[in-house]
């Protein structure tokens, strides 16, 4: 039988400090983590051509949205729905953007009812150039959309350049505008 043991009390002060140090290191990482955005998973579609699709317009609104519409000019594609609360948050920014005429914004109406989407646009304003009615959400799946709202920056060649998940806020818009400027100068977009 081996020697009886008693509880060891760490005699050296630094040993007793180990739990504290571990906790502080984890705390530091958590603090850094607050500034990171884990939800921004890089999309596999970045740099690829926009998927093939052809969506009808919303009832009583001209201009549907199809792949060919995205070629010829840099544009934004905003996935929205009348039932989406965060869409209301980003909506005023898109209204301003439309008024400024900097870049055309197309809408991808995700899993909505046509009438509901129209009354939403009538009520809060319609910032979109073209709107495709993706009633079943099938096209959105091809675009890799997994939450509404999402916003894509599409180049003049119809390539997906950037993807923003969640509502676009002022800070995000500035990043997007810089990227648009870079694209138009023929450079590479940072976003």
């Amino acid at each position: 039988m081996s020697e009886p043991i008693a509880e060891e009390i760490p005699r050296r002060a630094w040993l007793r400090l180990v739990p504290l140090v571990v906790a502080l290191v984890i705390g530091a990482f958590l603090f850094v983590g607050l500034g990171l955005r884990p939800k921004e998973i890089p999309s596999a579609l970045i740099g690829k051509a926009a998927p093939e699709f052809d969506l009808p317009a919303l009832p009583g609104r001209p201009k549907g949205l199809k792949t060919a519409d995205l070629k010829g000019e840099v544009s934004l594609v905003n996935v929205f729905a009348s039932w989406c609360v965060s869409c209301r948050a980003e909506h005023p920014l898109f209204m301003k953007l439309q008024a400024s005429g900097v870049v055309p914004v197309h809408g991808l109406n995700n899993k909505d009812k046509g009438e509901a989407a129209m009354s939403w646009l009538n009520r809060y304003g319609d910032p979109y150039d073209r709107v495709g009615a993706d009633l079943k959400g099938r096209v959105s799946i091809d675009w890799g959309v997994y939450g509404v709202p999402e916003t894509f920056l599409v180049s003049a060649e119809g390539r997906i350049v950037c993807k923003h998940i969640g509502p676009v806020m002022q800070r995000d818009l500035e990043i997007l505008l810089k990227a648009i400027e870079a694209l138009r100068q023929g450079g590479t977009a940072q976003c």
Binding site: R16, G27, L30
Partner: protein
């Protein structure tokens, strides 16, 4: 007006908490009975004030007062009453208020029933409790006020997330919080003991029932949550190693370790340092869980409304609480000298092994949960740590713990004979070997891991029962003598028997349901039939119907086995309007052999429906086992020692010895 009253009550509660956190603490230091005496009334008043605030919010929800922003965002007038009530804690602000309410209720319980604690010690405990309350009150008042008004008043609310409109989830958060906050008591006792520089058997006797109660609630909360995920999410799974699930599992692991190490403090006056550290760590992990859910630092299916400002606040609070208590620990730990010596093979030794394995397992889960964050912070790479990591690390660590857990209760205090203990488990060994062969014969074509897995579960249950039989000297003494022993043996020992057997049931449920599950996914037309693991599902048809606040499609499937009709299963696919969302309501038929699980999805056009069926053998053993574990905890909680409360310190010094002798002597 009532909402403003609630808000005002919270502000008052904060000022009372400030007093309670400082004056009694100073009083205990100066030895001023007047200042010490302030702790009790302060704790009671604080409890009253927070109850008023909680009642005010509850009132706003039940009367659907949409002028309160929180109600308008999370409730709806067409919601059933149960979900109006559970809506109170179905959102960030309200759930914090529930957290607080439980915290101050526990504080009031110490104030009311802690008469047998020395007054200065009780004052210190209540002061530490008040410090925690200050953090949460400030958090509620400055970043998450549930009483904010909304103008103009909307006609109706936005509704509670339909996934949360479910009885299982209505009670999941309160249980979870009762668990988390229950560990705050162990924490407060630990910090008070560090300040005082003394930990003894009476201390452990107070900490144990709180830890035990918290552990029961947390076990129940986790079980309810996983049960909800199983039948409401419609994926057929019940545990996903999601960060938020891990957040509740880590305090459970640490709390289980604490539960066991505090026995050693109580009975043998040893492991004091370690137990105090565990008490701090367990509550710290509870706070970390609160932080992870609310800050959005990790991606999770649960994510509450996340807000960076809130994240910074909780993190600050977290650091103050944890760093403060650990600094105190570093300074004061040497003051707590352990007493009893013990041999490596002994009851104490077994409990040390339990603690080592449980805390290592807890650390693995912590590492896996935070690893994506570490990597993102250091390299910017985004990854997800999934079940493969946890299965590969957590499993092997728990395996020896589970095997040893059957032997532990058979070991004597101080010095035990391992060979003798194993010999006394001969029936359990025989049952395990029988289970091995039986599984081998019945399921020779199944995954081979299932065979030792089932045997492990049988070993745990059989050993728990045999230990109980040994304690009663069943079949070795006349029946009357065994009965006398049944009445007189301590209830905490029975708690162990139930809890350990319950854990064995959970293992069997996990192993059987994951090894022998049959899954079928297909599209079906009415009239078609599909075979799933010996059962046949015939699709009769699907028709729409209207619920109180949703529209649904209900499918009907006639289930038969060998041509004999067994049951009709009716899964639903619901569409809620406020907020718009689709949920699946799986139809589950629980039989002795296991669960049949049916899900109906979207129609794919032309009367064709996507359907999904599972046959999950013995899956309900997981939740039944968890219930048995909770029952064991409650039996142990009803032990006379806990009911009477801690005896005076002098008596307490003598008693553990006697108990230890009476347990070791037989």
């Amino acid at each position: 007006m009532i909402a403003e009253l609630g808000h005002f009550a919270l502000v008052l509660a904060l000022s009372v908490a400030l007093v309670q956190a400082t004056i009694p603490l100073l009083g205990a230091w100066r030895g001023d009975p007047g200042w010490i005496g302030l702790a009790r009334p302060a704790a009671l008043v604080q409890c009253l004030l927070v109850s008023i605030a909680f009642g005010a919010l509850m009132h706003a929800y039940v009367t659907s007062d949409f002028s309160v922003l929180n109600v308008a965002t999370n409730s709806h007038s067409a919601k059933p009453l149960l979900y109006k009530i559970s809506g109170v804690w179905g959102n960030h602000e309200g759930s914090l208020l529930l957290w607080l309410l439980i915290l101050v209720l526990f504080g009031a319980a110490v104030a009311l029933f802690g008469g047998n604690l020395p007054a200065p010690f009780r004052a210190r405990v209540l002061s530490v409790q008040a410090m925690i309350a200050i953090g949460f009150l400030a958090f509620v008042l400055f970043t998450s006020n549930p009483f904010e008004r909304l103008f103009p008043v909307p006609l109706d609310g936005r509704g509670l997330n339909p996934l949360l409109q479910d009885p299982g989830l209505a009670f999941h958060p309160p249980f979870l919080y009762l668990g988390y906050v229950g560990f705050s008591m162990a924490f407060s006792f630990a910090v008070a003991a560090l300040i005082e520089g003394r930990v003894d058997a009476a201390w452990a006797r107070w900490v144990r029932p709180w830890t035990l109660a918290a552990w029961c609630f947390l076990t129940m909360g986790i079980a309810l949550g996983s049960w909800w995920a199983y039948y409401e999410l419609g994926w057929g799974g019940w545990w996903f190693w999601d960060p938020v699930e891990n957040a509740s599992f880590m305090p459970w692991l640490a709390g289980t370790a604490l539960l066991h190490s505090s026995i050693v403090v109580e009975k043998r006056d040893s492991l004091k340092n370690w137990t105090v550290l565990l008490a701090i760590v367990t509550f710290s992990l509870s706070l970390l869980g609160t932080f992870l859910v609310r800050s959005g630092v990790l991606t999770s299916v649960h994510a509450f409304a996340t807000d960076p400002a809130r994240g910074v606040f909780i993190l600050g609070f977290l650091i103050v609480v944890i760093a403060g208590s650990l600094t105190l620990y570093a300074i004061r730990a040497p003051a707590m000298k352990g007493g009893g010596l013990f041999a490596p093979v002994s009851r104490e030794g077994g409990l040390v092994l339990n603690n080592l394995l449980l805390s290592t397992a807890c650390a693995t889960v912590l590492l896996g949960t935070l690893y994506p964050l570490f990597l993102d912070a250091v390299t910017g790479e985004k990854i997800t740590v999934g079940p493969p990591y946890f299965n590969a690390t957590f499993g092997p660590l728990m395996l020896p713990a589970l095997i040893a857990m059957a032997v532990g209760p058979m070991l004597r205090w101080k010095r035990a004979d391992l060979g003798g203990a194993v010999q006394r488990l001969k029936f359990a060994i025989a049952a395990t070997v029988a289970a091995l062969f039986l599984t081998l014969v019945l399921a020779y074509d199944g995954p081979w891991l299932a065979i030792p897995g089932i045997a492990l579960g049988v070993w745990m249950i059989a050993a728990a029962l045999e230990e109980a039989a040994y304690r009663l000297r069943l079949f070795r003494v006349p029946v009357g003598e065994s009965l006398r022993r049944l009445v007189r043996s301590p209830r905490s020992a029975w708690g162990t028997t139930f809890a350990h057997a319950g854990a064995g049931m959970v293992i069997i449920g996990i192993v059987a349901s994951s090894s022998w599950q049959v899954e079928k996914l297909q599209v079906m037309r009415p009239g078609e039939e599909v075979a799933v693991g010996g059962y046949s599902f015939k699709f009769i048809g699907a028709r729409p119907f209207k619920g109180p606040n949703y529209n649904a499609v209900r499918g009907a499937f006639q289930v038969s086995r060998n041509g004999v009709d067994i049951t009709l299963m009716e899964p639903e696919s619901r569409e809620y309007q406020d907020p718009p969302m689709e949920t699946t309501e799986a139809a589950i038929r629980t039989g002795w052999g296991g669960d049949l699980y049916a899900v109906i999805g979207d129609p794919t056009g032309d009367g064709v429906w996507s359907t999904r069926f599972y046959n999950k053998p013995m899956i309900h053993w997981i939740w039944m086992g968890a219930l048995v574990m909770v029952f064991g905890g409650m039996v142990s909680l009803s032990d006379r020692r806990h009911r009477v409360g801690a005896p005076s310190r002098r008596k307490a010094g003598a008693k553990p010895l006697k108990v230890a002798q009476s347990m070791a002597g037989k």
